[in-house]
Subunit: 95 residues, 2 copies
Amino acid sequence: MSINLAFKALSDPTRRTILDLLQERDLTAGEIAEHFQMTKPSISHHLSLLKQAELVWDERQGQHIYYSLNTAVFQDLIKWIISFQQSDSRGNEKN
Amino acid sequence: MSINLAFKALSDPTRRTILDLLQERDLTAGEIAEHFQMTKPSISHHLSLLKQAELVWDERQGQHIYYSLNTAVFQDLIKWIISFQQSDSRGNEKN
């Protein structure tokens, strides 16, 4: 995975809302679009960036393409971020 | 904090390297610049984005301004990302 693409994908609130929706269940692009006041091409663009970042998978099921979360990438991001929590042990954390 | 700005700041490899350096100890902009083949204004721009995202603090100590990690924001990001790991319990994780 590209950590650059993953963080870039997460920097947009629409894309984070799409990920929230996919936590509930796998969805088609049309079902996702129903949650937004946005054109379908805009939603497709956001889904494309999420796919590039490997935060979501798409899979054809019959006539439809379903999007689902790729939770493995989230685990990789947590591993990266968690290394910065460990620097607390230096004892210079600001509050 | 703005989660948008935080993820945007993290999407750049130079900025992630700066954060890695600050894990070791607090540094001035000049000390940070020594680690890169980059102009000081470029480094200042990256530091400015890290500050906007509240991933780093700056603090004057005598004649110098020192940059340090704000580990609290990393904790907030982990809390956000960790909610997606919990969706593993749906049992549809792809490998």
